[in-house]
Amino acid sequence: MIAIVHSELLRLRRRSLLAAWFGLTASFAIMINFVMFSTAGKGASLPPGAPGVAFPNAAVLAGPDGLVAGLAAASSMFGVVTLSLWAVAAATDYSSGLIRLLVSAQPHRWRLLIGKVVALTAVTAVATTVAMAVCLLVAAPAAGAAGISTAAWGTHPVSTIASAWLNAFAAQLAWGVLGLVIAVLSRSSTVAIAVGVGYVLVVESVVKMAIGGSADWLLGSTLNAVASGGTATLAYGSALGLALVYVAAGLVLASAVVTRRDITD
């Protein structure tokens, strides 16, 4: 299995792929921090149900968690990036025909799938670290520009950063698995990204508006709750459990499709 993961990691070491992944992550982290602090500094707030982002108020940002609030606030944006890149990594094997070479060399297809998931998980950990590093770099200047106090940020910084990283990483993994599943089903990164992003930005928002507060179990809301360490309507433990169910179901589905489907690409 180590050999399969190593092989997959070598294929993921594409400059364009990693530049897109880490570049978009860093850009979203910078943008969201400045917009979030600026919005809170003006006492404004996003309209309820705004797709993809959830901003805390100035009081929360001035608290110990304010330092890393951008990571949770941009969870869905990071999620879209992760979903897209996992989808590209999975679908390209099919669209390029590389899957023929891979399966000829390693006919245990489920091992290839697990190897890909482990390798993408490793890159996702790096991307989450990039996001965290950028948040840590830009949070203070963004807060200063918005007139929000950072005096409380020094309280328990290590545990605050560690839990924020873990929560963000867990949410990104679930987004990635979603991208992988759609890509495996569609064998097209374009379709996978369109479906994933369309779901986050349109479908889930519409469903939430239609059924209101009882929609916390939806994927996007669940993963936002995971990234935020829980919300007022969905406790962290419940969100994590639900996310695990989503991930397990996705992996079972992807595994069934990968192992059974004829490779005609």
Binding site: A3, S16, S96, G97, S104, P107, D262
Partner: protein, 317 residues
């Protein structure tokens, strides 16, 4: 030595289309084996089934004596290039091969060996996206050679190669076949197959048409001599004279095609002279593998499609 590939009633259907139809073949070990057939004859489907990429609808098959239901048991002993070579275009040739070598748990020194075999040493650090089709083809062969396979399966290995590259690959195939490996080559280039292969498997509509040594296939050729009279008005007269002499003659335009070997050329010339006709052309023609193949399988794709179609609508399509 046992057969490298054995299939018994192997069948694969895709909906209403039967790509491989109760195919039973035995491919002997060692040497270069040509797998030929018109477009859509089931060659690629057969190769994919042998590699475990798709499952048969019915029938059984073995590769290196092991059932194709367990491709993992023989994957380390088989190398393959299936249809067009596929690589990660943003990575170098070397990085692509290293990733495949890792996947197969092979020593990285093998990457240098196969790069050298296919003549890509020195170009190995360039991104595959910058490669020509011919270079990608070489890289695909290199990837197939990575496990130092007992059985090498190459689907159209000379696609995109220039004439010099084709000659080079032909030499490579011959040398691989001479080292105790078995190389199965699916190709449309019948002249190449004739020069490179020792054994031939011909399929059409997913069914076996011929399987046997190349010499046996070539023995089916019908040598003939083409004659042309100096004056077109004499063609009929010459035709009649030859028929009267007991020759088997076909008339096409102004050319008389006589079933005869090269050793009878002088007899034909004398027969024409005796009839008072001067020949402007006397050409000895030896049928090639391509001629024999076309006789066996049909002349063109359109002819084949029409022959295969079950309804007039299908034939029209």
């Amino acid at each position: 030595m046992a057969n490298v590939v054995t299939t018994t009633g192997l069948t694969r259907r895709f909906g209403a289309i039967t790509a491989v139809d109760r195919l039973s073949i035995e491919v002997p070990a060692a040497g270069v084996i040509g797998l030929v057939g018109p477009n859509g004859s089931g060659k690629s489907t057969l190769i994919r089934m042998l590699l475990g990429l798709i499952r048969p609808t019915s029938g059984t098959a073995t590769v290196l004596g092991l059932p194709i239901t367990s491709p993992a048991k023989y994957a380390a002993r088989v190398g393959a290039l299936v249809e067009s070579p596929a690589f990660v275009s943003g990575l170098s040739a070397r990085a692509n091969l290293v990733s495949l070598a890792r996947l197969r748990r092979l020593p990285l020194g093998r990457v240098d060996e196969v790069l050298s075999i296919v003549g890509l040493t020195g170009r190995d650090k360039e991104p595959v996206g910058n490669f020509s089709l011919g270079m990608k083809q070489r890289l695909g062969i290199a990837a197939a050679l990575l496990p130092d396979p007992e059985l090498l399966i190459l689907d159209e290995p000379t696609n995109g190669l220039d004439p010099a590259g084709i000659v080079e690959i032909r030499g490579l195939l011959r040398s691989l076949g001479e080292t105790g490996r078995t190389v199965i080559v699916a190709s449309h280039l019948l002249a190449e197959v004739q020069l490179a292969c020792d054994y031939l498997v011909v399929v059409r509509f997913g069914e076996l048409v011929f399987a046997g040594p190349m010499t046996e296939m070539l023995a089916r050729s019908r040598p003939h001599v083409d004659l042309r009279a100096e004056h077109a008005r004499d063609t009929e007269k010459l035709h009649a004279a030859l028929m009267a002499g007991g020759w088997e003659v076909d008339l096409a335009d102004d050319v008389l095609r006589v079933a005869a070997t090269a050793s009878r050329s002088a007899d034909l010339n004398r027969a024409a002279t005796a009839a008072g006709i001067t020949l402007s052309e006397l050409v000895v023609v030896q049928e090639s593998l391509e001629d024999i193949f076309l006789t066996m399988t049909g002349r063109t794709d359109g002819e084949l499609a029409a022959a295969r179609a079950t309804t007039p609508e299908e034939a029209a399509r």
